[in-house]
């Protein structure tokens, strides 16, 4: 029994890894994320401290300082590398928390239905319709500036979207036979939600996590850019805050804000690529389309007809 279970788990993990490697988009995206993760963890000890005053402020990029120096004479290259640490850590942590809260609230709303669903849906929709940034600004400005504050604010304003998506997915699962069978066999509701249903939503949860991480990184950088983070730490957001505070545009020192922005965009883009990849691997419509494209010669494809074929072929 135990060995059986092991084989099953391995095959899920193996399927995911081979799925990611086999899919071009997901593979490129994962490589970019891995690159940033590894460089953020291992490079900082070998380069100059990002907070030291090293040289004349606002030096353009050179061999000595790859990305030049900023308005305080600090090395922009070191700041870009080290800034990834907190930004990515807070971003991905918020992503995980958002998915957990979204799965909990959305799952309960979708599974139980009725009065509970009415109340939770109302809560979800109210949070969805409220504009995020002004709410984040108010919360962050009252709380002391720290990574914990950022995390809390991001989770509080970001959970609703995932809860909504997971709720509707849960509603389609609720009426499946395996859930009815589990109910009849006397399993508790919480166990059914967590053990029976959630593993079957794995691809949705994974793409929710990625979407939430993209949102968290972007919103976090925005908040710090406004000066609502701890401006004495080195993160991508505070890099941009200092660039704008030291009048990067007026002094035409583009190198103080361009590298950081590119890194943020690369991370978000890589995450989007992984999401495309997950979609391609798990969406039956896209799978059948791929099969169909391989079968039908190019010149026979007419405009605008979507093929419907059995994806198990």
């Amino acid at each position: 029994m135990i060995s059986n279970k092991n084989v099953y788990q391995k095959s899920i993990l193996a399927r995911w890894i081979s799925g990611i490697i086999g899919n071009q988009k997901a593979f490129i995206g994962s490589c970019i994320i891995l690159f940033f993760g590894v460089s953020a963890i291992f490079i900082p000890p070998f380069i100059q401290s990002p907070t030291d005053f090293l040289s004349t402020p606002l030096l353009p990029p050179s061999f000595e300082y790859f990305f030049g120096t900023n308005g305080q004479g600090q090395d922009v290259f070191a700041q870009t590398i080290c800034g990834a640490r907190q930004t990515l850590f807070v971003g991905f942590s918020a992503g995980i928390l958002v998915v957990i809260i979204g799965a909990l609230i959305g799952g309960i709303a979708g599974y139980y239905g009725g009065r509970i669903d009415d109340i939770l849906s109302l809560l979800i929709n109210v949070f969805l319709v409220m504009p995020g940034l002004p709410l984040m600004v108010i919360l962050a400005s009252w709380l002391p500036p720290s990574p914990g504050t950022l995390l809390g604010v991001l989770v509080l304003t970001g959970w609703a979207w995932n809860a909504r998506v997971i709720r509707s997915q849960m509603m389609t699962f609720k009426n499946r036979d395996f859930v009815s069978a589990a109910i009849v066999s006397g399993e508790s509701n919480i166990r059914i939600i967590i053990i029976e249903i959630m593993p079957r939503m794995l691809s949705l949860l994974a793409s929710s996590f990625i979407g939430a991480s993209i949102y968290s990184i972007g919103a976090q950088v925005g908040l710090e850019f406004l000066g609502l983070g701890d401006v004495s730490t080195v993160t991508w957001g505070t890099n941009l805050y200092w660039a704008s505070n030291n009048l990067a545009l007026l002094t035409e020192s583009w190198w103080t804000f361009v590298p950081t922005g590119f890194c943020i965009a690369l991370i978000s883009f890589a995450l989007t690529l992984i999401n495309f990849g997950i979609d391609e691997v798990s969406n039956p419509r896209l799978i059948s389309e791929k099969l169909w494209r391989n079968k039908v010669p190019e010149n026979l494809i007419t405009h605008g007809i979507t093929p419907v074929s059995n994806s198990n072929e």
């Binding site: 002004p134 400005s141 009252w142 850019f225 989007t272």
Partner: protein, 328 residues
């Protein structure tokens, strides 16, 4: 028709609840913080604040010695009267007066760029879903996804740097020229468009991809429906199938998404305004954050939330006309 009225009323009820929730959050947040909000502010300003400003602030937060429930009632009453308190940075100007001027510009900027992005994105989505073997479908989605990955305000910085500071093609701040007096005249109109062009361009650029992708995806699944195959079989022209059969139905989720995206767009517009020194709510918000002007911040939160809720309601009404299923 009766059910349509009911639907509109039900949606209105929902937005009323949402507005009430926002009001309550606005009331609770300062009180949840450790310590007395006015003392926190007083400590942060380190004695730079006049005593009468502190008193005004206590009053604008409704921080009397009454029980919290009575504070809440008097807070609601003053909000209903349109009284959002007194600004700290612009003391003694009332917050509602400061906000009043900026709201028009924000709605103008966010609204126009959103409609433009929606129209272009949806059209592109229709086209690339239709020509799915074409080059456009392999190039456009990843390219736009890449641009969509940039933070709004960072792209705004780059655009301002390139086209404003380096090339001098566009103005680097304000909503209209210094020498032009606002009014219903052509120079003012042209100057307004000229100043709004670059901020609007960034907003359109970043949000285009989302509209295009969601339109493409629904269009693809709509094109898989039997009635499309049937229309092909009947010999209806391709153009008619693409626009009147497929796109007409596929656009509905995008329309519903329009209301949702409003909040995101406004948030983006706020940040973009800060970069371009565009005199809207975002610029005010930045000043409020920098001067720690809490009443102004909270007033901005309230007005923007109410604007988004109102706009969402209008979108709901619009959907009523486009989607017959909501009318049955």
């Amino acid at each position: 028709m009766n059910s349509s009225v009911l639907y509109i009323a039900r949606r209105f009820g929902f937005y009323l609840i949402a507005a009430f929730a926002a009001l309550t959050l606005n009331f609770i947040i300062p009180r949840l913080m450790p310590g007395d909000p006015a003392s926190i502010i007083f400590a942060r300003f380190k004695g730079k604040l006049k005593p009468e400003a502190i008193d005004a602030m206590r009053e604008s937060f409704g921080l009397t010695n009454d029980p919290i429930f009575f504070q809440y009632i008097s807070y609601l009453k003053s909000i209903l009267k349109g009284d959002l308190g007194t600004s700290i940075a612009y003391f003694p100007a009332p917050v509602s007066e400061i906000i009043g001027g900026g709201l028009v510009w924000t709605i103008f900027l966010a609204g126009t760029s959103m409609i433009i992005a929606f129209l272009i994105g949806t059209t592109l989505g229709i086209i690339i879903a239709w020509n799915r073997t074409g080059k456009l479908d392999t190039i456009l989605p990843p390219t736009l996804a890449f641009f969509g990955a940039f933070p709004y305000f960072w792209l705004a910085m780059v655009f301002l740097y390139l086209f404003g500071f380096s090339l001098n093609w566009f103005p680097i701040g304000r909503a209209y020229g210094n020498e032009i007096s606002p009014g219903y005249n052509l120079p003012f109109f042209i100057s307004t468009l000229y100043h709004a062009f670059l901020p609007a361009l960034t907003l359109v650029f970043v949000s285009l991809g989302g509209w295009m992708l969601s339109m493409r995806n629904t269009m693809i699944s709509t094109l898989g429906s039997d009635y499309i195959t049937f229309a092909h079989a009947k010999g209806i022209s391709s153009r008619s199938i693409m626009l009147r059969y497929a796109a007409r139905n596929a656009i509905l989720p995008n329309l519903t998404g329009f209301g949702m995206a409003l909040g995101f767009m406004l948030s983006g517009a706020l940040l973009t305004e800060m970069i371009f020194s565009y005199p809207g709510q975002g610029f005010l918000l930045l000043q409020a954050v920098q001067t720690q002007d809490y009443p102004l911040m909270q007033g901005i939160f309230m007005t923007i939330t109410l604007a988004v809720l109102g706009a969402n309601w209008l979108v709901d009404i619009a959907i009523l006309f486009f989607d017959p299923r909501t009318r049955k």
